[in-house]
Protein backbone atom coordinates (compact mmCIF):
# COMPACT_ATOMS: atom_id res chain seq x y z
CA UNK A 1 0.00 0.00 0.00
CA UNK A 2 1.47 3.33 -1.09
CA UNK A 3 -0.30 6.21 0.53
CA UNK A 4 0.51 9.65 1.85
CA UNK A 5 -0.97 9.20 5.31
CA UNK A 6 0.02 9.02 8.94
CA UNK A 7 -1.80 6.44 11.08
CA UNK A 8 -4.32 4.68 8.76
CA UNK A 9 -6.87 4.82 11.57
CA UNK A 10 -6.46 8.59 11.75
CA UNK A 11 -6.75 9.20 8.01
CA UNK A 12 -10.31 10.53 8.11
CA UNK A 13 -9.71 12.68 11.15
CA UNK A 14 -6.47 14.10 9.67
CA UNK A 15 -8.30 14.76 6.41
CA UNK A 16 -11.11 16.62 8.12
CA UNK A 17 -8.62 18.87 9.88
CA UNK A 18 -6.92 19.46 6.54
CA UNK A 19 -10.21 20.43 4.92
CA UNK A 20 -11.14 22.88 7.62
CA UNK A 21 -7.61 24.31 7.63
CA UNK A 22 -7.91 24.89 3.88
CA UNK A 23 -11.20 26.83 4.01
CA UNK A 24 -11.40 28.31 7.50
CA UNK A 25 -13.57 31.18 6.31
CA UNK A 26 -16.28 29.02 4.82
CA UNK A 27 -16.49 25.75 6.73
CA UNK A 28 -15.98 24.40 10.21
CA UNK A 29 -15.93 20.99 11.86
CA UNK A 30 -18.52 20.40 14.57
CA UNK A 31 -16.50 19.74 17.69
CA UNK A 32 -16.16 16.11 18.63
CA UNK A 33 -17.77 14.95 15.38
CA UNK A 34 -16.80 14.13 11.82
CA UNK A 35 -19.26 16.67 10.48
CA UNK A 36 -18.21 19.56 8.22
CA UNK A 37 -20.74 22.41 8.16
CA UNK A 38 -21.03 25.80 6.52
CA UNK A 39 -19.44 28.31 8.83
CA UNK A 40 -22.65 30.36 8.77
CA UNK A 41 -24.87 27.39 9.70
CA UNK A 42 -27.71 27.42 10.48
CA UNK A 43 -28.62 29.72 7.59
CA UNK A 44 -31.70 31.61 8.65
CA UNK A 45 -34.85 30.93 6.68
CA UNK A 46 -33.28 28.22 4.53
CA UNK A 47 -33.96 24.52 4.38
CA UNK A 48 -30.68 22.80 5.25
CA UNK A 49 -29.26 20.12 2.97
CA UNK A 50 -27.27 17.40 4.70
CA UNK A 51 -25.47 14.58 2.95
CA UNK A 52 -22.54 12.32 3.66
CA UNK A 53 -21.53 8.71 3.80
CA UNK A 54 -18.28 6.86 4.06
CA UNK A 55 -15.09 8.79 3.32
CA UNK A 56 -12.84 8.00 0.36
CA UNK A 57 -15.11 9.67 -2.20
CA UNK A 58 -13.55 13.12 -1.97
CA UNK A 59 -14.42 15.79 -2.98
CA UNK A 60 -17.73 14.14 -1.97
CA UNK A 61 -19.10 15.20 0.33
CA UNK A 62 -17.23 17.86 2.30
CA UNK A 63 -16.10 19.57 -0.91
CA UNK A 64 -19.72 20.37 -1.69
CA UNK A 65 -20.40 22.21 1.55
CA UNK A 66 -21.10 25.85 0.82
CA UNK A 67 -23.50 28.35 -0.62
CA UNK A 68 -25.88 26.75 -3.09
CA UNK A 69 -25.17 23.12 -2.18
CA UNK A 70 -24.75 21.36 1.16
CA UNK A 71 -25.07 22.82 4.64
CA UNK A 72 -23.28 19.84 6.14
CA UNK A 73 -21.38 16.72 5.13
CA UNK A 74 -21.25 13.82 7.59
CA UNK A 75 -18.03 11.90 7.01
CA UNK A 76 -17.79 8.26 8.05
CA UNK A 77 -14.71 6.10 8.16
CA UNK A 78 -13.39 5.09 4.74
CA UNK A 79 -16.25 3.42 2.82
CA UNK A 80 -18.23 3.14 6.06
CA UNK A 81 -21.46 5.02 6.60
CA UNK A 82 -21.33 7.42 9.53
CA UNK A 83 -23.29 6.48 12.65
CA UNK A 84 -26.67 8.04 13.43
CA UNK A 85 -25.38 10.27 16.23
CA UNK A 86 -23.05 12.02 13.78
CA UNK A 87 -25.88 12.58 11.31
CA UNK A 88 -28.05 13.86 14.14
CA UNK A 89 -25.40 16.43 15.09
CA UNK A 90 -25.33 17.65 11.48
CA UNK A 91 -29.11 17.96 11.45
CA UNK A 92 -29.17 19.88 14.70
CA UNK A 93 -26.37 22.21 13.67
CA UNK A 94 -27.94 23.18 10.36
CA UNK A 95 -31.67 23.38 11.09
CA UNK A 96 -32.85 26.96 11.03
CA UNK A 97 -36.42 25.94 11.74
CA UNK A 98 -37.29 25.46 8.07
CA UNK A 99 -36.36 21.78 8.22
CA UNK A 100 -33.50 19.59 7.07
CA UNK A 101 -33.28 17.57 3.89
CA UNK A 102 -31.10 14.43 3.78
CA UNK A 103 -29.50 13.25 0.55
CA UNK A 104 -28.70 9.56 1.06
CA UNK A 105 -26.91 7.25 -1.34
CA UNK A 106 -28.65 3.90 -1.56
CA UNK A 107 -26.52 1.55 0.52
CA UNK A 108 -27.94 -0.52 3.37
CA UNK A 109 -25.60 1.17 5.80
CA UNK A 110 -26.25 4.74 4.69
CA UNK A 111 -29.98 4.23 4.57
CA UNK A 112 -30.13 2.63 8.01
CA UNK A 113 -27.87 5.15 9.75
CA UNK A 114 -29.44 8.21 8.15
CA UNK A 115 -32.98 6.96 8.78
CA UNK A 116 -32.17 6.30 12.42
CA UNK A 117 -30.84 9.84 12.71
CA UNK A 118 -33.99 11.10 11.03
CA UNK A 119 -36.14 9.35 13.62
CA UNK A 120 -34.01 10.76 16.44
CA UNK A 121 -34.24 14.30 15.00
CA UNK A 122 -37.97 14.05 14.55
CA UNK A 123 -38.21 12.93 18.16
CA UNK A 124 -36.46 16.19 19.01
CA UNK A 125 -39.03 18.13 17.01
CA UNK A 126 -36.97 18.82 13.90
CA UNK A 127 -38.69 18.43 10.53
CA UNK A 128 -36.63 16.11 8.36
CA UNK A 129 -37.19 14.76 4.86
CA UNK A 130 -34.96 12.61 2.68
CA UNK A 131 -34.25 11.33 -0.77
CA UNK A 132 -32.39 8.11 -1.58
CA UNK A 133 -30.23 8.34 -4.70
CA UNK A 134 -29.95 5.18 -6.78
CA UNK A 135 -28.54 6.15 -10.16
CA UNK A 136 -26.26 3.19 -10.86
CA UNK A 137 -27.77 1.21 -13.75
CA UNK A 138 -25.12 -1.50 -13.40
CA UNK A 139 -27.16 -2.96 -10.57
CA UNK A 140 -30.52 -4.51 -11.16
CA UNK A 141 -33.41 -2.73 -9.52
CA UNK A 142 -35.74 -5.04 -7.71
CA UNK A 143 -38.09 -4.83 -4.77
CA UNK A 144 -36.50 -7.87 -3.21
CA UNK A 145 -32.94 -6.64 -3.13
CA UNK A 146 -30.95 -3.76 -1.80
CA UNK A 147 -31.60 -2.01 -5.11
CA UNK A 148 -29.37 0.24 -7.11
CA UNK A 149 -26.41 2.05 -5.69
CA UNK A 150 -26.08 5.80 -5.49
CA UNK A 151 -22.98 7.04 -7.31
CA UNK A 152 -21.92 10.23 -9.16
CA UNK A 153 -25.48 11.28 -9.98
CA UNK A 154 -25.69 12.27 -6.31
CA UNK A 155 -23.76 15.46 -7.12
CA UNK A 156 -26.62 16.64 -9.31
CA UNK A 157 -29.01 16.05 -6.40
CA UNK A 158 -26.76 18.11 -4.13
CA UNK A 159 -26.55 20.92 -6.63
CA UNK A 160 -30.19 21.11 -7.54
CA UNK A 161 -31.67 20.53 -4.10
CA UNK A 162 -29.10 23.00 -2.79
CA UNK A 163 -30.11 25.64 -5.31
CA UNK A 164 -33.79 25.12 -4.54
CA UNK A 165 -33.12 25.57 -0.83
CA UNK A 166 -30.95 28.62 -1.48
CA UNK A 167 -33.79 30.10 -3.54
CA UNK A 168 -36.09 29.82 -0.52
CA UNK A 169 -37.84 26.57 -1.40
CA UNK A 170 -39.79 24.82 1.34
CA UNK A 171 -38.82 21.38 2.63
CA UNK A 172 -41.55 19.84 0.46
CA UNK A 173 -40.38 21.75 -2.61
CA UNK A 174 -36.79 20.72 -2.03
CA UNK A 175 -37.88 17.11 -1.65
CA UNK A 176 -39.98 17.27 -4.81
CA UNK A 177 -37.18 18.62 -6.96
CA UNK A 178 -34.67 16.16 -5.47
CA UNK A 179 -37.01 13.31 -6.33
CA UNK A 180 -37.30 14.69 -9.84
CA UNK A 181 -33.52 14.57 -10.17
CA UNK A 182 -33.41 11.00 -8.86
CA UNK A 183 -36.11 10.00 -11.32
CA UNK A 184 -34.15 11.44 -14.23
CA UNK A 185 -30.52 10.64 -13.44
CA UNK A 186 -28.65 7.48 -14.43
CA UNK A 187 -24.99 6.51 -14.22
CA UNK A 188 -22.61 3.67 -14.86
CA UNK A 189 -18.93 3.21 -14.12
CA UNK A 190 -15.88 1.10 -14.95
CA UNK A 191 -12.42 0.64 -13.51
CA UNK A 192 -8.93 -0.31 -14.57
CA UNK A 193 -7.58 -0.81 -11.06
CA UNK A 194 -8.88 -1.54 -7.56
CA UNK A 195 -8.20 0.67 -4.55
CA UNK A 196 -6.96 0.08 -1.03
CA UNK A 197 -8.79 1.05 2.16
CA UNK A 198 -5.99 2.55 4.33
CA UNK A 199 -6.84 0.50 7.42
CA UNK A 200 -7.12 -2.70 5.35
CA UNK A 201 -3.75 -2.24 3.65
CA UNK A 202 -4.43 -4.49 0.67
CA UNK A 203 -6.41 -3.88 -2.54
CA UNK A 204 -10.03 -4.93 -2.48
CA UNK A 205 -9.74 -7.09 -5.59
CA UNK A 206 -7.23 -8.01 -8.26
CA UNK A 207 -7.24 -7.19 -11.96
CA UNK A 208 -4.78 -8.50 -14.50
CA UNK A 209 -2.77 -6.04 -16.56
CA UNK A 210 -5.16 -6.52 -19.51
CA UNK A 211 -8.43 -6.55 -17.59
CA UNK A 212 -11.07 -4.01 -16.66
CA UNK A 213 -14.22 -4.15 -14.58
CA UNK A 214 -17.50 -2.87 -16.00
CA UNK A 215 -20.30 -1.74 -13.69
CA UNK A 216 -18.06 -0.80 -10.79
CA UNK A 217 -19.31 0.88 -7.62
CA UNK A 218 -17.48 3.47 -5.57
CA UNK A 219 -16.45 1.37 -2.58
CA UNK A 220 -13.64 -0.64 -4.01
CA UNK A 221 -16.00 -3.51 -4.70
CA UNK A 222 -15.54 -5.40 -7.97
CA UNK A 223 -17.93 -4.65 -10.83
CA UNK A 224 -20.52 -6.77 -12.53
CA UNK A 225 -18.39 -7.97 -15.41
CA UNK A 226 -14.67 -8.46 -16.00
CA UNK A 227 -13.28 -8.20 -19.52
CA UNK A 228 -10.21 -7.38 -21.54
CA UNK A 229 -9.43 -3.65 -21.63
CA UNK A 230 -11.16 -1.98 -24.53
CA UNK A 231 -10.52 1.34 -26.23
CA UNK A 232 -11.90 4.56 -24.79
CA UNK A 233 -14.50 4.67 -27.55
CA UNK A 234 -15.67 1.14 -26.83
CA UNK A 235 -15.82 1.87 -23.11
CA UNK A 236 -17.85 5.03 -23.71
CA UNK A 237 -20.12 3.07 -26.02
CA UNK A 238 -20.75 0.35 -23.48
CA UNK A 239 -21.42 2.70 -20.56
CA UNK A 240 -23.64 4.94 -22.68
CA UNK A 241 -25.62 2.02 -24.05
CA UNK A 242 -26.63 0.95 -20.55
CA UNK A 243 -27.29 4.48 -19.34
CA UNK A 244 -29.22 5.65 -22.41
CA UNK A 245 -31.55 2.67 -22.56
CA UNK A 246 -32.36 2.65 -18.91
CA UNK A 247 -34.47 5.76 -18.49
CA UNK A 248 -34.58 5.79 -21.56
CA UNK A 249 -33.14 9.05 -22.84
CA UNK A 250 -34.61 9.85 -26.25
CA UNK A 251 -34.05 11.97 -29.30
CA UNK A 252 -34.99 15.55 -28.52
CA UNK A 253 -34.24 15.23 -24.80
CA UNK A 254 -31.92 17.71 -23.18
CA UNK A 255 -29.40 16.42 -20.65
CA UNK A 256 -26.62 17.40 -18.30
CA UNK A 257 -23.59 15.13 -18.61
CA UNK A 258 -21.04 14.19 -16.00
CA UNK A 259 -17.87 12.28 -16.87
CA UNK A 260 -16.49 11.45 -13.46
CA UNK A 261 -13.02 10.19 -12.59
CA UNK A 262 -12.72 7.62 -9.82
CA UNK A 263 -9.57 9.11 -8.34
CA UNK A 264 -6.50 8.05 -10.29
CA UNK A 265 -7.65 8.71 -13.83
CA UNK A 266 -5.76 11.44 -15.67
CA UNK A 267 -8.09 14.21 -16.84
CA UNK A 268 -6.80 13.52 -20.33
CA UNK A 269 -8.60 10.17 -20.26
CA UNK A 270 -11.81 11.68 -18.93
CA UNK A 271 -11.85 14.15 -21.82
CA UNK A 272 -11.19 11.33 -24.29
CA UNK A 273 -14.27 9.57 -22.88
CA UNK A 274 -16.20 12.83 -23.06
CA UNK A 275 -15.38 13.19 -26.75
CA UNK A 276 -17.10 9.91 -27.53
CA UNK A 277 -19.96 10.50 -25.10
CA UNK A 278 -20.74 13.79 -26.82
CA UNK A 279 -20.56 12.14 -30.23
CA UNK A 280 -23.01 9.45 -29.16
CA UNK A 281 -25.41 12.04 -27.76
CA UNK A 282 -25.19 14.03 -30.97
CA UNK A 283 -25.89 10.94 -33.09
CA UNK A 284 -28.83 10.07 -30.86
CA UNK A 285 -30.24 13.56 -31.23
CA UNK A 286 -29.94 14.38 -27.53
CA UNK A 287 -29.01 17.97 -26.69
CA UNK A 288 -26.45 18.74 -24.04
CA UNK A 289 -27.32 21.55 -21.69
CA UNK A 290 -24.07 21.41 -19.79
CA UNK A 291 -21.17 19.00 -19.24
CA UNK A 292 -18.98 18.34 -16.21
CA UNK A 293 -15.68 16.51 -16.56
CA UNK A 294 -13.50 15.83 -13.53
CA UNK A 295 -13.24 14.04 -10.20
CA UNK A 296 -16.56 14.49 -8.43
CA UNK A 297 -17.30 11.18 -6.69
CA UNK A 298 -14.19 9.10 -6.32
CA UNK A 299 -13.16 5.78 -4.89
CA UNK A 300 -9.76 6.54 -3.34
CA UNK A 301 -7.06 5.86 -5.92
CA UNK A 302 -9.16 3.72 -8.25
CA UNK A 303 -8.45 4.28 -11.95
CA UNK A 304 -11.65 4.42 -13.93
CA UNK A 305 -14.62 6.59 -14.68
CA UNK A 306 -18.36 6.83 -14.67
CA UNK A 307 -20.78 8.52 -17.01
CA UNK A 308 -23.95 10.20 -15.73
CA UNK A 309 -26.88 11.68 -17.63
CA UNK A 310 -29.57 13.86 -16.12
CA UNK A 311 -32.63 14.66 -18.22
CA UNK A 312 -33.38 18.33 -17.84
CA UNK A 313 -36.49 20.46 -17.82
CA UNK A 314 -36.68 24.21 -17.35
CA UNK A 315 -36.78 24.00 -13.57
CA UNK A 316 -33.77 21.69 -13.39
CA UNK A 317 -31.83 23.86 -15.82
CA UNK A 318 -32.40 27.00 -13.79
CA UNK A 319 -31.38 25.26 -10.59
CA UNK A 320 -28.35 23.51 -12.07
CA UNK A 321 -27.12 26.80 -13.51
CA UNK A 322 -27.69 28.77 -10.32
CA UNK A 323 -24.48 30.00 -8.73
CA UNK A 324 -22.84 27.80 -6.12
CA UNK A 325 -19.61 28.40 -4.33
CA UNK A 326 -18.09 25.34 -2.77
CA UNK A 327 -14.47 24.14 -2.99
CA UNK A 328 -15.34 21.43 -5.50
CA UNK A 329 -18.26 22.81 -7.48
CA UNK A 330 -18.48 26.43 -8.31
CA UNK A 331 -19.76 28.67 -11.04
Amino acid sequence: MKKIINDPNQAVSDMLQGIVAAYPDSVKQLEGTTVVVRKDAPVAGKVAIVSGGGSGHEPAHAGYVGKGMLDAAVCGEVFTSPAPDQVLEAIKATDSGKGVFLVIKNYSGDVMNFEMAMEMAEAEGIQVEKVVVNDDVAVEDSEFTTGRRGIAGTIFVHKIAGAKAEAGGSLEEVKAVAEKVVANVRSMGMALTPCTVPAAGTPSFHLEENEMEIGIGIHGEAGIERKPIASADEIANELMEHVLHDLPYRKGDEVAVMVNGLGATPEMELYIINKKVQEILKETGINVHRAFVGNFMTSLEMAGCSVTLLKMDDELKTLLDAPSSTPAFCF
Binding site: G54, G76, T80, P84, Y107, M112, V139, T146, G217
Partner: protein, 206 residues
Protein backbone atom coordinates in the same frame (compact mmCIF):
# COMPACT_ATOMS: atom_id res chain seq x y z
CA UNK B 1 -27.27 -21.64 34.08
CA UNK B 2 -27.62 -17.94 34.61
CA UNK B 3 -26.02 -14.92 33.05
CA UNK B 4 -24.95 -12.25 35.49
CA UNK B 5 -23.30 -8.90 34.95
CA UNK B 6 -19.84 -10.43 35.15
CA UNK B 7 -20.66 -13.08 32.54
CA UNK B 8 -22.11 -10.43 30.26
CA UNK B 9 -18.96 -8.35 30.55
CA UNK B 10 -16.74 -11.38 30.01
CA UNK B 11 -18.76 -12.24 26.90
CA UNK B 12 -18.22 -8.81 25.39
CA UNK B 13 -14.53 -8.76 26.28
CA UNK B 14 -14.07 -12.18 24.76
CA UNK B 15 -16.00 -11.06 21.69
CA UNK B 16 -13.67 -8.08 21.39
CA UNK B 17 -10.65 -10.38 21.69
CA UNK B 18 -11.99 -12.44 18.80
CA UNK B 19 -12.85 -9.43 16.65
CA UNK B 20 -9.29 -8.13 17.08
CA UNK B 21 -7.82 -11.53 16.29
CA UNK B 22 -10.04 -12.03 13.25
CA UNK B 23 -9.99 -8.42 12.06
CA UNK B 24 -7.96 -9.13 8.93
CA UNK B 25 -9.90 -12.27 8.14
CA UNK B 26 -13.24 -10.46 8.40
CA UNK B 27 -11.90 -7.66 6.22
CA UNK B 28 -10.68 -10.18 3.69
CA UNK B 29 -14.13 -11.77 3.56
CA UNK B 30 -15.63 -8.31 3.04
CA UNK B 31 -13.16 -7.61 0.23
CA UNK B 32 -14.57 -10.63 -1.56
CA UNK B 33 -18.20 -9.60 -1.55
CA UNK B 34 -18.27 -6.12 -0.06
CA UNK B 35 -16.13 -3.08 0.48
CA UNK B 36 -13.42 -4.49 2.68
CA UNK B 37 -14.12 -2.78 5.98
CA UNK B 38 -16.05 -5.27 8.10
CA UNK B 39 -13.09 -6.41 10.20
CA UNK B 40 -11.99 -2.82 10.71
CA UNK B 41 -15.55 -1.89 11.69
CA UNK B 42 -16.02 -4.74 14.16
CA UNK B 43 -12.57 -4.32 15.71
CA UNK B 44 -13.22 -0.60 16.19
CA UNK B 45 -16.71 -1.13 17.58
CA UNK B 46 -15.93 -3.90 20.05
CA UNK B 47 -12.76 -2.29 21.34
CA UNK B 48 -14.87 0.78 22.13
CA UNK B 49 -17.36 -1.51 23.88
CA UNK B 50 -14.61 -3.03 26.01
CA UNK B 51 -13.41 0.47 26.97
CA UNK B 52 -16.90 1.64 27.70
CA UNK B 53 -17.92 -1.22 29.96
CA UNK B 54 -14.56 -1.27 31.73
CA UNK B 55 -15.38 2.17 33.06
CA UNK B 56 -18.96 1.38 34.02
CA UNK B 57 -20.38 0.24 37.29
CA UNK B 58 -23.20 -2.08 36.32
CA UNK B 59 -25.95 -3.60 38.38
CA UNK B 60 -27.89 -5.28 35.59
CA UNK B 61 -27.16 -7.11 32.35
CA UNK B 62 -29.69 -4.82 30.68
CA UNK B 63 -27.45 -1.86 31.48
CA UNK B 64 -24.35 -3.61 30.15
CA UNK B 65 -26.12 -4.42 26.90
CA UNK B 66 -27.59 -0.94 26.61
CA UNK B 67 -24.13 0.66 26.77
CA UNK B 68 -22.94 -2.00 24.33
CA UNK B 69 -25.77 -1.10 21.97
CA UNK B 70 -25.17 2.63 22.14
CA UNK B 71 -21.43 2.19 21.64
CA UNK B 72 -21.79 -0.15 18.68
CA UNK B 73 -24.42 2.12 17.15
CA UNK B 74 -22.23 5.19 17.35
CA UNK B 75 -18.79 3.71 16.73
CA UNK B 76 -19.28 1.18 13.93
CA UNK B 77 -21.34 2.90 11.27
CA UNK B 78 -21.79 1.05 7.98
CA UNK B 79 -24.49 -1.59 7.76
CA UNK B 80 -23.28 -3.61 10.71
CA UNK B 81 -23.35 -0.69 13.18
CA UNK B 82 -27.11 -0.12 13.21
CA UNK B 83 -27.72 -3.89 13.00
CA UNK B 84 -25.52 -4.93 15.94
CA UNK B 85 -26.59 -1.77 17.76
CA UNK B 86 -30.25 -2.60 17.31
CA UNK B 87 -29.66 -6.22 18.31
CA UNK B 88 -28.09 -5.30 21.65
CA UNK B 89 -30.66 -2.59 22.26
CA UNK B 90 -33.48 -5.12 21.87
CA UNK B 91 -31.61 -7.60 24.01
CA UNK B 92 -31.22 -4.96 26.69
CA UNK B 93 -34.88 -3.98 26.59
CA UNK B 94 -36.00 -7.62 26.77
CA UNK B 95 -33.78 -8.27 29.81
CA UNK B 96 -34.89 -5.26 31.83
CA UNK B 97 -35.70 -6.34 35.40
CA UNK B 98 -34.62 -9.92 34.82
CA UNK B 99 -31.33 -10.11 36.71
CA UNK B 100 -29.74 -12.52 37.07
CA UNK B 101 -30.83 -13.55 33.58
CA UNK B 102 -31.97 -17.11 33.26
CA UNK B 103 -31.79 -19.17 30.08
CA UNK B 104 -35.37 -18.55 29.10
CA UNK B 105 -35.12 -14.80 29.47
CA UNK B 106 -31.89 -14.81 27.53
CA UNK B 107 -33.46 -16.88 24.75
CA UNK B 108 -36.30 -14.38 24.50
CA UNK B 109 -33.82 -11.54 24.46
CA UNK B 110 -31.89 -13.06 21.56
CA UNK B 111 -35.16 -13.65 19.71
CA UNK B 112 -36.01 -9.95 20.21
CA UNK B 113 -32.54 -9.04 18.95
CA UNK B 114 -33.05 -11.13 15.82
CA UNK B 115 -36.35 -9.43 15.19
CA UNK B 116 -34.67 -6.05 15.63
CA UNK B 117 -32.03 -6.94 13.04
CA UNK B 118 -34.73 -8.05 10.64
CA UNK B 119 -36.82 -4.93 11.11
CA UNK B 120 -33.85 -2.66 10.64
CA UNK B 121 -32.31 -4.49 7.69
CA UNK B 122 -35.45 -5.97 6.11
CA UNK B 123 -33.62 -9.23 5.41
CA UNK B 124 -35.04 -12.69 5.94
CA UNK B 125 -33.27 -16.02 6.27
CA UNK B 126 -31.34 -17.11 3.19
CA UNK B 127 -30.33 -13.67 1.96
CA UNK B 128 -26.71 -14.25 2.98
CA UNK B 129 -26.51 -11.89 5.94
CA UNK B 130 -25.91 -12.07 9.66
CA UNK B 131 -29.58 -13.06 9.98
CA UNK B 132 -28.55 -16.50 8.76
CA UNK B 133 -26.54 -16.98 11.96
CA UNK B 134 -28.83 -15.16 14.41
CA UNK B 135 -31.92 -17.08 13.34
CA UNK B 136 -30.72 -20.65 14.08
CA UNK B 137 -29.08 -19.46 17.32
CA UNK B 138 -32.30 -17.82 18.46
CA UNK B 139 -34.20 -20.99 17.56
CA UNK B 140 -31.76 -23.24 19.46
CA UNK B 141 -31.88 -21.06 22.57
CA UNK B 142 -35.67 -21.10 22.52
CA UNK B 143 -36.00 -24.82 22.12
CA UNK B 144 -33.23 -26.06 24.41
CA UNK B 145 -33.81 -26.57 28.10
CA UNK B 146 -30.12 -26.13 28.99
CA UNK B 147 -27.67 -24.29 26.79
CA UNK B 148 -24.74 -26.46 25.79
CA UNK B 149 -21.79 -24.31 24.93
CA UNK B 150 -20.38 -26.75 22.37
CA UNK B 151 -23.75 -27.09 20.66
CA UNK B 152 -24.22 -23.32 20.56
CA UNK B 153 -20.87 -22.86 18.89
CA UNK B 154 -21.49 -25.71 16.44
CA UNK B 155 -24.81 -24.26 15.30
CA UNK B 156 -23.32 -20.82 14.80
CA UNK B 157 -20.39 -22.26 12.90
CA UNK B 158 -22.48 -24.39 10.57
CA UNK B 159 -24.86 -21.51 9.97
CA UNK B 160 -21.98 -19.24 9.11
CA UNK B 161 -20.46 -21.78 6.76
CA UNK B 162 -23.78 -22.34 5.06
CA UNK B 163 -23.81 -18.72 3.92
CA UNK B 164 -21.00 -19.65 1.58
CA UNK B 165 -23.34 -21.27 -0.91
CA UNK B 166 -25.99 -18.58 -0.79
CA UNK B 167 -26.55 -15.84 -3.33
CA UNK B 168 -26.79 -12.48 -1.58
CA UNK B 169 -29.87 -10.35 -2.03
CA UNK B 170 -29.25 -7.86 0.78
CA UNK B 171 -26.25 -5.69 1.67
CA UNK B 172 -23.39 -4.88 -0.64
CA UNK B 173 -22.82 -8.49 -1.60
CA UNK B 174 -26.14 -8.35 -3.45
CA UNK B 175 -24.46 -6.29 -6.22
CA UNK B 176 -22.46 -9.36 -7.15
CA UNK B 177 -25.51 -11.57 -7.63
CA UNK B 178 -24.30 -15.08 -8.65
CA UNK B 179 -20.72 -13.98 -8.07
CA UNK B 180 -21.46 -13.61 -4.36
CA UNK B 181 -21.61 -17.40 -4.11
CA UNK B 182 -18.54 -19.15 -2.75
CA UNK B 183 -17.60 -16.74 0.02
CA UNK B 184 -18.78 -16.65 3.62
CA UNK B 185 -20.79 -13.55 4.49
CA UNK B 186 -18.63 -11.30 6.69
CA UNK B 187 -21.51 -10.32 8.98
CA UNK B 188 -22.36 -14.00 9.44
CA UNK B 189 -18.73 -14.62 10.35
CA UNK B 190 -18.62 -11.81 12.93
CA UNK B 191 -21.89 -13.10 14.38
CA UNK B 192 -20.31 -16.53 14.68
CA UNK B 193 -17.39 -15.01 16.62
CA UNK B 194 -19.86 -13.24 18.87
CA UNK B 195 -21.66 -16.48 19.74
CA UNK B 196 -18.50 -18.52 19.94
CA UNK B 197 -17.28 -15.96 22.51
CA UNK B 198 -20.50 -16.55 24.41
CA UNK B 199 -19.98 -20.31 24.26
CA UNK B 200 -16.47 -20.00 25.66
CA UNK B 201 -17.59 -17.76 28.48
CA UNK B 202 -20.44 -20.09 29.38
CA UNK B 203 -18.05 -23.01 29.36
CA UNK B 204 -15.67 -21.23 31.72
CA UNK B 205 -18.52 -20.07 33.91
CA UNK B 206 -19.55 -23.66 34.59
Amino acid sequence: MEIDVQTAISWLNKANEKMQAEKDYLTKLDQETGDGDHGINMARGFSEVENKIANGNYETCADVFKDTAMTLMSKIGGASGPLYGTAFLRLSTALKGQDPVDEKAFAQGVQAALEGIQQRGKASVGEKTMVDVWQPIAAYLQETSAIEAAQLEKIAKEAMEATKDLIATKGRAAYFKERSKGAIDPGAASSFYLFSALAEVLKEAK
